[in-house]
């Protein structure tokens, strides 16, 4: 008490006046103690996510995750025998890269955060500011190929201050092709993609991989976001005899495509789509026809992993979310939690969270078991990046009377044998 009273006298003029006015005894009894910790005892962490805008569904779960973390940190964080208060500064990128840059400026230069966390696919502008100003930064929900490419780096060079943990675009294509190969479905694949960076990248990699694996590709090409008719793609796939459709397609586009495909009598055995089926809403928009849709999985509730922060298993974590929000769990929440696990572990390991170099070295030396599995910067062959697993899964209808209509299960683990298979992959005709 004495010490904190003293520091309050030194740090806050307003509180001094208040104490004098209220009398010393009253001031001592007032609950000011926490606020009185000096700046040296306070860790400031910036967190940027896409809470609104076109990609807002990725961050729908994030506010709940942050509340959970805040509750956990309300008594502060003990590092090297010293208690630190933790302040979290949350910012919304609005899915806009320009705003991402100005938020990076604000948090790094003005707010002077000790650590920046970015769970946004367009993290590059903010990460660049961290690299220029020597602020440690951790990002996720961004594949490592664009993480390097965006700012002209490579796995040998890395970045001085910014880090990433996520899976790779090359792995996801291996998983897609591996799953179809194992399914026994005719090797004719119809492809169509959103005309954006991710779609173009995915398209190039997929075409090469399909060729190598002996698949025939029926190309539906890239399409623009405003398009609301897919009869041409449907006709091309029908002419080409496609049994599998794939691509990077947003939910609203896939719903339109699927309606027209059914009208035209296109006979499909597997629909494996990136983006559209990551979230339950993308499947629910198909009504009764959502069962059997397949996509990549990077987090789900049946995984055998648990949080290093609060010991919750993946299943408990998802259940807690569903109980408190009434909404179904979604894949990004695992990474939105894991980024805090990684960040707080690095702060702890640093010995002194106010020392930037120590925090940076702690991130680079981290090998942590998180709710999404192992995040290993220490033994990673790539500088600044910890590669995580990605695998394949399929949506199944929940039994009647369940709270949510569909649930996602792991069906293949081509590049991630450590992830247990939960259900066998089935062609779409088995779901009808």
């Amino acid at each position: 008490m004495d010490k904190s009273f003293g520091s309050r006298l030194l740090t806050s003029r307003r509180q001094v006046i208040k104490s004098i006015a209220g009398g010393t005894a009253a001031a001592l009894a007032m609950p000011y103690v926490h606020r009185a910790i000096a700046a040296d005892d306070k860790i400031r962490i910036g967190y940027i996510d896409q809470f609104t805008g076109i990609r807002a569904n990725f961050a729908e779960t994030a506010p709940w995750v942050i509340d959970q973390i805040k509750a956990q940190l309300k008594d502060g964080l003990e590092i090297g025998g010293k208690k630190y208060e933790v302040e979290i500064l949350t910012r919304d990128s609005q899915s806009d890269p320009n705003r991402m840059g100005s938020l990076g400026n604000e948090l790094v230069l003005r707010e002077n955060v000790d650590l920046l966390l970015v769970a946004d696919g367009l993290a590059a502008p903010a990460l660049e500011i961290c690299d220029q100003n020597g602020t440690p930064a951790i990002s996720t929900i961004l594949q490592w190929e664009p993480f390097y490419a965006a700012r002209g780096s490579n796995p040998d060079k890395g970045y001085p201050w910014s880090f990433l943990f996520f899976w790779s675009g090359a792995d996801i294509i291996k998983n897609y092709v591996g799953m179809w190969g194992a399914s026994g479905i005719d090797k004719v694949v119809g492809t169509f993609y959103e005309d954006n960076d991710f779609g173009r990248g995915f398209s190039g990699g997929m075409t090469a991989s399909l060729k190598d694996a002996g698949f025939k590709e029926v190309q539906g090409g890239l399409f623009k976001e405003q398009v609301d008719d897919f009869s041409n793609q449907v006709a091309a796939f029908r002419e080409g005899g496609a049994k599998i459709v794939t691509g990077l397609v947003f939910p609203q586009h896939f719903a339109t495509f699927w309606g027209q495909a059914q009208q035209a009598g296109l006979d499909i055995e597997a629909a494996t789509i990136a983006a559209a089926f990551v979230f339950p809403s993308g499947v629910e928009v198909l009504g009764d026809q959502g069962a059997g849709m397949s996509t990549e999985i990077w987090f789900n509730r049946q995984l055998p992993f648990k949080s290093s922060l609060n010991g919750q298993s993946a299943n408990d974590f998802c259940s807690a979310y569903e109980a408190s929000t009434g909404k179904q769990w979604a894949q990004p929440m695992g990474y939105e939690h894991a980024i805090w696990e990684v960040g707080l572990a690095a702060l702890k390991n640093s010995g002194n969270p106010k020392k930037r170099e120590a925090v940076r070295d702690a991130i680079a030396g981290l090998d942590l078991d998180t709710i999404i599995g192992k995040v290993d910067f220490k033994n990673s062959k790539m500088k600044s990046v910890a590669n995580t697993w990605v695998t394949m899964g399929q949506w199944h209808k929940n039994p009647k009377g369940s709270k949510f209509p569909y649930e996602l299960y792991v069906t293949n683990n081509v590049t991630a044998p450590q992830v247990p298979i939960q259900k066998e992959f089935m062609p779409l005709s088995k779901f009808r």
Partner: protein, 292 residues
């Protein structure tokens, strides 16, 4: 054959586009009001439809009736409470007003309903198809086209034959002279805006059945509506219908040749028509209803 199928699909899509343009064109033809919030009203109607269709008896597609009624009411309120206040020789205030309304509506919908894409489930009808002259067409797009034709014809007939229709046409011609005849043109405007929004609402709900929508879809819808109206000729009825068809067919033919073209060729056709015939296609037919 596959080309014929593409053209047929373009006509089916064009029917919906025409309907999207109809509300905007009607409001402009009668009141010279450019409703910039039209696209967002279309999306709002789709949300209303989304919440009403589980309670719709007989078949979910009938949800267009209650939604149109609600939109009619909203249109009357909108005109009476807001747009009538800023009417005058200067068109800028009402454009700014509806522009502001569009922003409020869009962000309100994001806040209330979230950014997820939604779709109105018309049951299995969405997935039905049939063979026609060797082509394979969808049932729902044909139903949408039929609804569009019926609405165009009904509106035309009503404007030509009913008393209210005559009053609306007279008000469109000269809203000051009709006041000499005892018509309160502000009330007429309110009815016209109600109708315009009701037509948009039907388009919005049908669009949500055919594909899907997000709170952000409004801007694209507005662009289509503008192009339909301008291609067709301002204030012309069947011109607008043909404008929609032209846009739909162009878009699908272009997408067949160049899948990544998006709506670009539709915009190019719009641009060419605007240069060759600034009055729109209707000046070729001179079938105007509202103005000389």
């Amino acid at each position: 054959m596959i080309w014929l199928e593409t053209i047929a699909n373009g006509i089916l899509l064009g029917g919906l586009y025409a309907l999207i343009g109809l509300g905007l064109g009607f409001a402009f033809g009668v009141m010279r009001v450019v409703n910039v919030a039209q696209g967002d009203f279309i999306v709002a109607a789709a949300f209303i439809g989304l919440y009403l269709y589980p309670w719709t008896p007989v078949h979910p597609i009938l949800v267009i009736l209650p939604v149109a009624l609600i939109a009619f009411g909203i249109g009357i309120l909108l005109q009476r409470l807001l747009i009538n206040r800023v009417l005058g020789h200067d068109q800028i205030p009402q454009i700014l007003l509806t522009f502001g309304l569009a922003i409020v509506l869009r962000n309100g919908m994001v806040a209330w309903f979230g950014a997820n894409s939604q779709s109105i489930n018309v049951g299995n009808m969405r997935f039905w198809g049939f063979n026609f002259l060797g082509m394979r067409l969808g049932v729902l797009p044909v139903v949408v086209l039929v609804i569009a034709i019926v609405l165009f014809a009904a509106l035309r007939f009503w404007l030509n034959r009913s008393r209210m229709g005559r009053i609306i046409r007279a008000t469109a011609d000269d809203h000051q002279v009709v006041q000499l005849l005892g018509v309160n043109y502000r009330n007429v405007y309110a009815v016209a805006m109600g109708l315009a929004l009701a037509l948009s609402a039907v388009a919005g709900v049908l669009l949500a059945m055919r594909g899907s929508f997000t709170p952000y879809s409004g801007a694209d819808r507005l662009l289509i509506a503008f192009e339909v109206v301008v291609i067709g000729g301002l204030g012309s009825f069947w011109g607008m219908f043909i404008g929609g068809i032209v846009l739909g067919v162009t878009q699908l033919l272009a997408l067949k040749i160049d899948p990544s073209a998006g709506l670009m060729y539709g915009h190019i056709v719009f641009f060419i028509i605007l240069i060759l015939s600034p009055q729109g296609l209707s000046s070729l037919f001179s079938m105007k209803v509202f103005r000389k």
